[in-house]
Assembly symmetry: C2
Homo-oligomer: 192 residues x 2
């Protein structure tokens, strides 16, 4: 997606350790006009799929999922990290390892909001090692729901998450795939 790649080139900051900071428009401050273009692109890519629900995970997937949901006219469910006393005991749960926060989360979705009638589009902001996505796929499969596809804003193509997910036979569409970054020059190399 040209507009997105331009924005990443302009406002993304490459840091040591293959860290890409896009917090000025994607996952801390959020550019809602850009999110609308992202939402339209997801709709274009998955237009023929009988999607009736979007699933994401807190926190940075929520904004993108909600804006995109307007184009699909479906509700959004977000998976929650860690048990809350306001969640019923009746949940699907999985464990997700976060390398960013160096911990393992319990991630849950209420059984009320995912069932075998559902045709789910999973949306998230980033795909790197694929741990979060694997957890979301696990939650959908626990519910017996169908995964129509996965929409990712930025995939770090030099990590193995994309291969892992595509290897499961799930349709994965990433709007920008980064094959390499140079923290000295700030250059970002996108997959063509």
């Amino acid at each position: 997606m040209e507009l997105l790649e331009e924005r990443i080139r302009r406002d993304g900051i490459v840091k040591k350790g293959n860290v890409l900071k896009v917090d000025s428009f994607l996952n801390h401050q959020m550019d809602i006009q850009l999110f609308n273009e992202i939402g339209k692109e997801f709709k274009r890519l998955f237009a023929e799929c009988p999607i009736n629900k979007i699933l994401t995970i807190e926190a940075s997937g929520i904004g993108i999922a909600c804006i995109a949901a307007q184009y699909f006219q479906v509700p959004v469910v977000f998976a929650k990290k860690a048990q809350s006393i306001n969640i019923d005991g009746d949940v699907y749960s999985t464990k997700i390892e976060s390398f960013t926060h160096k911990k393992i989360y319990d991630v849950i979705v209420s059984k009320k909001f995912l069932s075998r009638e559902d045709h789910v589009l999973i949306i998230d902001d980033f795909l790197a090692n694929g741990c979060a996505l694997a957890g979301l796929i696990d939650l959908v499969q626990s519910a017996g729901a169908a995964i129509e596809g996965i929409g990712i804003v930025i995939e770090k193509g030099f990590q193995h998450g994309g291969d892992l997910i595509r290897g499961k036979g799930v349709r994965l569409e990433s709007l920008a795939i980064i094959d390499g970054m140079d923290d000295e020059t700030g250059d970002i190399y996108f997959r063509q």
Copy 2:
């Protein structure tokens, strides 16, 4: 807001201990059509304010803030719970006590995304004891930004958060104010 009160009456579940579950449409599964009506109402209420940024807090405020931001045509910034290694050291921080999760969070916003030039609308899903809102107000004031107002979806009027915030002289608009709930009958009493 009539549509919202009807929805709370229809789908809200009153539990012991003054807990109101609205997770089927507001803060776990999210009804994006309803969020659009909420966004329009916030815009109507704050139409004359020179708002250039919406601030919310992860996780359940994000969806509402993003949908509402479309009517204001401004970016959204969400305050993050706990330090992440992907956040620069240069942050405003405050502490927020969560009664739901029975813990105290460090909550941060990058100094890049709040400054004395900003005119901020704070948006959140719930107001009960006001701890989260007081923290967000603290972050805005640390940045020297102006608080144009606060938009809340559901205020528990029988708790003291609303009085606390209004006592600070900040304009607070809650779309539904609940003055009482009965967990035996399921009745919910709205302020007129």
